[in-house]
Every structure is written in C-alpha cells, then in structure tokens.
C-alpha cells in the first residue's frame, strides 16, 4: 500500500450511540480520506449508526477496504460551521462518517 493509514483497528461493539456529542478529529492523514475540511474539529451530534461500510480510505490505495467499518450519520448546526451563516438558525448539515474520525465530546 505504501502510504500509512489511519488506525482502523476493529472495535468490539459500537463506540457511539444516537444523541452522543462528538468532535470530528482535526487531522489530515496523508492517505485518501473523505472527511471534508469544513467539519474537521467541529462538534456535532450522532443521529444514528447507519451500518458497516467498506473502508474507502484503504480501498483508494489498492486494498480490499476490509474489514468494514462502522459509519454514523452526524448532524451539525449550520450556524456552528459557518460563522457568517446568514440563512435560518434551524438549518443543519448531515454527513456520514467512519467511526475512527469521531471522538466523544463532553
């Protein structure tokens, strides 16, 4: 594979539950990843576990992408993401993220 990748050690059970407040890890690993910059380091709420998915981060480098990893739908307040957000304060952003990008927020 050549490139180091983010640790994706298998997790027994799920690390997060709906309603958990989480931070998206603010990291920029050298491998392909699909976590856009604008949510890195931001706080959101886990809406649900949506399933186990092939790891696109390792698959992009020629690997099988296995084992599959837990993915969660996370909701962010638009007004938290964009300081000058001028539309409605109730607006949200939803994005589906692999477990290893999330950490529990207090």
């Amino acid at each position: 594979m050549g490139l180091p990748i983010v640790s994706t050690a298998a997790t027994p059970g799920l690390a997060f539950s709906p309603g958990d407040h989480v931070f998206v890890k603010d990291m920029t690993p050298p491998n392909h990843h699909r976590t856009p910059w604008y949510i890195k380091g931001r706080r959101g709420v886990v809406l649900e576990f949506i399933g186990m998915y092939v790891n696109s981060e390792t698959r992009a480098h020629g690997d099988s992408g296995l084992p599959e990893l837990p993915m969660y739908r996370v909701e962010f307040e638009q007004t938290h993401l964009w300081t000058d957000y001028a539309e409605s304060p109730s607006d949200k952003l939803w994005i589906d993220l692999y477990e290893h990008w999330l950490e529990q927020a207090e």
């Binding site: 699909r34 856009p36 998915y53 993915m71 909701e75 638009q78 539309e87 949200k92 939803w94």
Partner: protein, 232 residues
C-alpha cells in the same frame, strides 16, 4: 474558442458533457441556477469540446445530436427515480419500505445501484427540506437519476450548497420559509441519496404514471420542488 474567454469558464461554453444544455432564446448559453462561477476547461474537456466542434463543422453530426442523445438516455434513467417517488406517493406501504429498506426496495423494483453503493432515501415535508450535495466530488445516484447535471459537479454548487443552501434553492425556484428546516446532506463514496419531494396538492386520484410526470430530477436532488400539475 472566444466564447470561453468572453464568459470565463466551463459553464459558459454551452456544451455540456452530461447533456444539460442551457441556452437563451438567441441560442446563446446563459447562467445556470446554483452556479456563480467556476474553473476553466481542463485538458480533456477542451479536447472533447474541440472534437465535438470539428464533427459538427465537417457535417458528421448535427449541432444538437450529442445533447439530444445524452438527454434521451438521461430522461430514461431519470424516470427510474420518478417512478419510485410516484409509487411512494401513492402507496403508503411502499413508501415506508422505501424509506426503511431503500436498497432492497430499489433492487426489488428492478433497478441496480451503481458500484454496489448503498442507497438512502430521504423525504421532504413541510417541516424539513433535504438537499443533497457531494462536496468532495460528485457522488450521485446515476442509476436512478441518470448522469449528474454539470451544475451538480461544479465547484460553485459544491461550495454554495453548504454555505448558502436557501440561496441556491431560490435560484432553482424554491423559496422556503423559516418554518422549514433545511438539511444539507453531504454525500460520500459508499452512499447514494434519493430525495422524495413533497407531493403537489390537487393530485388526488392521479395514477403512478401521471404522478411520475411531476417528479423532476432537481426535486429528487432536493434543490427544487416537484412540478406543479398545471404546468405539466
């Protein structure tokens, strides 16, 4: 191509690889909703455009042949998504299944998701408007909606959809009040989203086929409403 220089970019060439042609009455390309500016043509796109123009100049193909062919293919596939939506509007049991077990229901209905990607179906209501974007590339449910329109792939849409979704929707003709919460859904490589738009009023008793004519592509991306019956 002086046209390029005059107008500054890809979205002003009038030539759309995915068949999304937008021309004014004078036949000239014009601005597209959701798109304010974009980068210029890449090498491959320039080459394809040059070949396309040459083929027209030499009389091998007519001016609109490529656009028409692509549009025909896109329409055929768009109707896959429209049929699913119209069925969901008509049949509450199907609607529930489509929302709860989207991939299975799509396959049961005879459609094949691309790259074996998972499918998520989201429903728009008076309270909530889902609008889909893929900020990192252009993930799109091609088997259900046909090839993605160029505006969906533009840098402009991909950034504005997350920073000013209501402004983008208003350019597509959809004005939402404060009572509707907007949920911008940023897609990824493993998932494809299909949006069920709100069913237009005064369509009681319409058949699935009739309803499907109201389900336009943009409404299934969530940037626009379904077509009103009196405008079909």
């Amino acid at each position: 191509m002086s046209e390029d220089k005059d107008n500054g970019g890809f979205f002003d060439t009038g030539w759309r690889p995915s068949g999304d042609v937008h021309r004014g009455e004078d036949g000239r390309p014009h601005d597209h909703p959701g798109v304010q500016e974009d980068v210029g043509l890449g090498v491959r796109a320039s080459r394809a455009l040059a070949m396309h123009e040459l083929l027209i100049e030499k009389g091998v193909i007519g001016e609109g042949d490529v656009d028409e062919a692509i549009e025909a293919v896109s329409k055929r596939v768009q109707s896959n998504g429209a049929t699913l939506v119209a069925k969901a509007w008509s049949d509450p049991e199907f609607r529930t299944r489509l929302l709860k077990h989207p991939k299975e229901t799509v396959i049961e209905s005879g459609f094949v998701p691309e790259h074996n990607a998972d499918i998520i179906v989201l429903e728009n209501t008076a309270e909530v408007q889902h609008m889909v974007v893929c900020t990192l590339c252009s993930c799109y449910p091609t088997q259900l909606l046909g090839p993605p329109p160029d505006w969906y792939k533009s840098f402009s849409y991909r950034s504005r959809a997350v920073t000013e979704p209501r402004a983008v929707m208003s350019e597509f003709g959809l004005e939402l009040g404060e009572e509707t919460e907007v949920r911008v859904v940023d897609s990824n490589s493993e998932l494809r989203f299909l949006v069920i738009p709100r069913r237009p009023e005064s369509t009681d008793g319409w058949s699935v086929q009739q309803l499907a004519t109201l389900v336009n592509r943009n409404s299934m991306i969530g940037v626009a409403a379904a077509t009103e019956p009196d405008t079909v």
